[in-house]
Symmetry: C3
Subunit: 318 residues, 3 copies
Amino acid sequence: MKLSEIASIIGAEFNGDDKEIISMNTLKNASADELSFIANAKYVKDMSDSKAGAIIVNEKTKEFVPSGCEALVVEDTYWQMAVLTKYFAPPVEDKDAFEAEIGEDSDIAFEAEIADGAVIGKNCIIMAGVYIGSNVVVGDNTIIYPNVVVYRDCKIGSDCIIHAGTVIGSDGFGFASNRLGQHKKIYHNGNVVIEDDVEIGANVTVDRAVFGSTLIKKGARLDNLIQVAHNCEIGEGSVFAAQSGMAGSTIVGRNNVFGAQSGIAGHLSTGDFNTFAARSGVTKTITQSGKTFAGFPLMDHKLWLKLQGVLSRLLKSK
Amino acid sequence: MKLSEIASIIGAEFNGDDKEIISMNTLKNASADELSFIANAKYVKDMSDSKAGAIIVNEKTKEFVPSGCEALVVEDTYWQMAVLTKYFAPPVEDKDAFEAEIGEDSDIAFEAEIADGAVIGKNCIIMAGVYIGSNVVVGDNTIIYPNVVVYRDCKIGSDCIIHAGTVIGSDGFGFASNRLGQHKKIYHNGNVVIEDDVEIGANVTVDRAVFGSTLIKKGARLDNLIQVAHNCEIGEGSVFAAQSGMAGSTIVGRNNVFGAQSGIAGHLSTGDFNTFAARSGVTKTITQSGKTFAGFPLMDHKLWLKLQGVLSRLLKSK
Amino acid sequence: MKLSEIASIIGAEFNGDDKEIISMNTLKNASADELSFIANAKYVKDMSDSKAGAIIVNEKTKEFVPSGCEALVVEDTYWQMAVLTKYFAPPVEDKDAFEAEIGEDSDIAFEAEIADGAVIGKNCIIMAGVYIGSNVVVGDNTIIYPNVVVYRDCKIGSDCIIHAGTVIGSDGFGFASNRLGQHKKIYHNGNVVIEDDVEIGANVTVDRAVFGSTLIKKGARLDNLIQVAHNCEIGEGSVFAAQSGMAGSTIVGRNNVFGAQSGIAGHLSTGDFNTFAARSGVTKTITQSGKTFAGFPLMDHKLWLKLQGVLSRLLKSK
């Protein structure tokens, strides 16, 4: 899409050198043929180093656009970014792709639907009612139980097990809102990448990234009914018990254990080998490793036990 | 069904004028050819104005039945109401309906099942494994991702997106119980109505109403794994983050935001433009608008922050 | 499988009488042709009475192996047990079973998949996209809504209703972990048994047992999005509201009521006719019956109300 067309869609003035823009990306990851945006002043620091071909800015941030990069000046940059994601969204299925390739000895149920462009490895079992979207890649020896849905462009490794009803790659929960309370959908044009030896329980949801990938690393284990939001990263060997959830863009280190019905807020990270008790709620980045936490707000597990003792005595004294 | 037959099923004496009863409804909404009931003394006030053709009452409430309305007197009115819902329940599929109508340019996957009597608008995409029940109506430009289930008689607007694995219109969680601990199912003969421009995430559940409709208004946004119980109403532009839930008959105003893993109890309502923090639990009606709440029990967000400070200092002092 | 082969797989020395082992089981339930294991010193008391043909032990526990029973000595008994479960796991579908039997007047949707060896009773309705695994047994008059998945070997009673998207019999969340943070899957070779007159909501997950059965007794009622872990037992007439969850091996008595978003930890039990308020979290066995509890940590409901009053006054005094 031509940059001049993009400018026209979002009502930005444009007199610069026109160029072809192939996709949208973050300031950090955009390349010269990509469009980026700045919606929050705290990312101004990422502008000077950005390789983006153009950036959607407002009157205040336009001065930070690096030389060689075009500025598209609008009032509400986040809203206009959302508007544009639709133009870069591929169709829900890729009708022009080659016929799906199925590896040797893989057993695909007659009632499964494997869209064009998908590549399934060797010795896989894909059961009835499974939907594998366009251009999805599945490794070897992976078992996908009935009625799992994998949206287009996602990647699943080898030796994985995905239990029934799980949804991989649905759109993340992202939209721009205006003062009238209207919401403009942000199309999620990234994907989900699941590495080797991952087991995911039943009726789990793993959302695709806005840009880039939601990532579940090697050896992770997810129980049932878990929410993994867009752009999250789950470290190697980490374990999530049933009904736990991660909000967007959070990075969990390796071998963390999240108890049942626990949750972690968005844009955080954790160290390695931590344990979060059942029902705990993480709202701050955890720089430590090897610790056990509990409660909401989160605290050291021993402190949480002490708090319960204090409350109990307080109650008895009244 | 004749009123005399109904009386006979539930063991009520009946000597009045017989009439045809076509369905059941609440005291407030019942019309002259409908049957209602009173199971809770606080609804006695609704009896005098009720247009119902007949009301299931007990010895205590029979005196409030308005003239022209027949009284069916039983011991356990709620149980007998539940018994009767089964008789008014339609079959799970309507085998006599016309063949489904599909609008121009709509793309229905070969593996989707569209039951008789359904009407799909123009330019829709309905993907593999989707089940659309009898007499369902879907507007224009709506995308329904794989393995979504829409039970019979529900209505989905235009420009909606429903992500994979979501269930619209399953029976609400309602039953009458007796002292032996047995439960009598209340068949849910209402439906779900989703207005235009609503996006619903993956593996969400939206239950149909007992009578009337569960309603999701224009512009609402629901993330993944959310529970919307029978007879709820979600106001225009309201937003629910993942794993939040609503209990039955609760009415949320416009542009409320419910954080992840939050919940609201049944038979409540909220004002407009309120925010409920992640994990908050609403147990009382919120008459205010434009406020931010947190915690369980729920309190003003600032008060919740203060409470955490108080507890933290209490803990340090011990 | 020969015991000598088993010993060889897990690197245990074996000089005893070789014998055929047909499956694995707990110390309490194993019979002479079954293999058991001891991974936790607190189960040493179950060893002397065990009828197991062989037990996986370590250097410390080998002395408690009863006479007539073979000892397989390894370092990490839990890990080796996990390794062996894979060898006893049946294929995901039984390709040698007889063609499924469908009872009189049952209505099976064309788009449902009933695997070989399944037996469906009379007058059932099995809707589009349902998957019924090998050797599953379904009673009479049961309705299974679209896209439900029932894994192989599970049993569902008569007069049951299972709503759309629910998954019955997925593998429990069990694995052995080593110090490197690697996880070895425990294949779950048990099943799920659902008795008569049970209604289960939409997008629920009920995991199969490791050994034996996860059990939901007669008359129980489950709402939507509920997690029932491996080897749990739900007593007759018990009721779980939406988004509640049970961790593994917990036994709930009859006619307990669990409120929405509540949870109960693993390896616990409860009395009868108890109520657990919405969002309560049970972490200890409840020996009482007929009580109402709330909070996390759990306490008597009245005490919980008092605690909220104490905290409220504390907050006002600061």
